[in-house]
Amino acid sequence: MTRGAKGWRLAARLACALAVATLFLFPIYWLAAISIKTPEEIFAYPPVWIPSGFRLDGYVTLFRDGDAWAVWNSLVTAGISTVLAMVIGFIAAYSIVRYRTGGDHLAIWIISQRMIPPICVAFPIFLLFVSLRIVDTYTGLVMLYTAFNLPYVIWMMRGFIQEIPLELEQSALVDGLSRWAVLWKVVLPMSRAGFFATAVFTFIFAWNDFLFALILTRSDVITYPVQVTGYFGSQSTFWSKIGAMSMLGVLPMIFVVGTMQRFIVRGFSMGAVKG
């Protein structure tokens, strides 16, 4: 291939990459832009592509009115449920892989739980939560997100643990570790990339949940997706607040995915996705 043809190929690839990046990043840019635009700029036609100033009124209002607590609520519920689901799911997956707990079909049964459309169980869960008096509490949401994410965690971790050579664990047992110590000192480090990748997705699932947060919260633990919808009024829509709140919701995700990117890529390339 000539040098010129190589150059064209490179240029074409870069153009494609740029187009895809723009497609994905533009909505986030637009959200950020709305959050700092003046009301006139938000409704202007033709649209104002670049805000004239850097107005933080939307953010200030969110913090002054206490609406920003919704992001904290999301962080707490998604964070704690992710930690719980990862710990329980990791141990359960290990048990299924190494002790053949539940025979050959338990794992399939567990992942099938994930396939139930959430709306089917929304009403029964609401009644259950009412009788347990955990509606609009951290405990309620954390329990729910943990339960809903466990099948995914078990399924993913099962794949990662299966790839760990058994002899590594046996060697550690002979060397002086207990089963529990083997779990933390051998199995976890060996499946680290998959573990963190799974944790990121688990966090995102809980973070993005709207349905249950809408049904099971009232005022105390409203999460950010529910809070955002509150700004769509029948009389008016508070675009500045929507923009600011959405940015507060997106930023932690960008941070999490950004810091864990290397694990996510490695987690996927380790083979859990292939099967």
Partner: protein, 356 residues
């Protein structure tokens, strides 16, 4: 007091009886090799000693104390695995120190022990590297290092050289033997390679289908095999098995092609009108001249190796290999006069395969 004692050890996997009542005494400091074909139960036996498998019956004791039911970590045993089982996320130093840390050794003690092991195994230069940066031979040394730093009562080695190429294997064999002499500990080594078994062992335990076929010093098994299986398993190329008949009432035997060999000091006892199987190792043949020849053979294939030459021929359908002097004047499709060191040969029952 024996260091390790196995008493009627049984192991079942479902309906499969993998180890059938194996009893064994291993005195302290002995280098014992469990050898046999795939599926003979040798690895199962080793893993049972390590505590990685629960035995179905019998008893295993170490230093006079039963270790059945104890967790692997409570048996004070060190093990080297076929795949090396090095932790890829730890440096060589940390890999070797792993067992010491698990047993809460002090940092200074760990440093001293790792230093000692790395010097002994000549791996001191790459203690800070990771396993992926090492060659197969170096990885195997690290795996051995990890086993020897702990003052274990017993060292178990599960086919540790199988993943190495032939040349490296020769070198490591010698090193393992030297290491055993230096440490003076009990080594139990599992292999399917009879050369490894012969070269390393002070005592070989040859297993088949979960049963000990024969145990003893390597040369004892080699020279005086109890049955055809043992005779055929040890030695490369394998022992030749030739069906022979008694030559009339005399002390000689008749080969399948009619040739008669009658120079036996002690004539074998044939069953009434029956046959025996004559076990002749390839090295029992030599090229003869004149009247010292015992038989004539039409050589079919000649394989010179440099140090020795293998000549193959057929005796009425029985394939025979003779290991001859490298300078032996033999050629394919030509007749050769061969003599046989008959006193070193063995006769087996044609029916049971047991040595006569």
């Amino acid at each position: 007091m024996p260091n390790l004692q196995l008493s009627s050890v049984d192991k079942f996997y479902g309906d499969v009886h993998a180890v059938k009542g194996v009893s064994l005494e291993v005195p302290e400091g002995e280098f014992i090799v469990l050898v046999g074909p795939s599926g003979c139960g040798k690895s199962t036996l080793l893993r049972s000693i390590a505590g990685l498998e629960e035995i179905s019956g019998g008893d295993i004791s170490l230093g006079g104390r039963s270790i059945v039911g104890l967790a692997p970590r409570d048996r004070n045993i060190a093990m080297v695995f076929q795949s090396y089982a090095l932790y890829p996320y730890l440096s060589v130093y940390e890999n070797i120190a792993f067992g010491l840390r698990a047993r809460k050794f002090s940092e200074s003690e760990i440093e001293r022990q790792v230093g000692w092991a790395s010097e002994l195994l000549a791996i001191g230069d790459f203690l800070q590297r990771f396993p992926r940066e090492l060659s197969g031979g170096q990885r195997q040394r690290v795996a051995i290092g990890r086993a020897i730093v702990r003052e274990a009562d017993l060292f178990l080695l599960d086919e540790p050289l199988s993943n190495l190429d032939a040349k490296l294997r020769d070198g490591m064999r010698e090193e393992i033997k030297r290491l055993h002499r230096q440490l003076g500990k009990t080594f139990i080594y599992v292999t399917h390679d009879q050369i490894e078994a012969m070269t390393l062992a002070e005592r070989i335990v040859l297993l088949r289908d979960g049963v000990v076929e024969q145990e003893g010093a390597p040369l004892e098994l080699f020279e005086r095999p109890r049955n055809r299986f043992v005779a055929g398993f040890l030695g490369s190329p394998s022992m030749n098995f030739i069906e022979v008949e008694q030559d009339g009432d005399g002390p000689g035997i008749r080969l399948p092609d009619g040739q008669i060999i009658d120079k036996f000091e002690f004539a074998p006892e044939f069953p009434d009108g029956g046959k025996l199987v004559w076990g002749v190792r390839p090295e029992h043949f030599s090229v003869a001249s004149g009247s010292s020849a015992d038989m004539e053979a039409l050589i079919e294939v000649v394989q010179p190796t440099g140090s020795r030459t293998f000549g193959s021929f057929t005796l009425s359908g029985t394939h025979v290999v003779a290991e001859l002097d490298a300078r032996a004047q033999i050629a394919a499709d030509q007749k050769a006069s061969l003599s046989i060191d008959v006193e070193r040969t063995t006769f087996f029952s044609a029916e049971t395969g047991e040595a006569c």
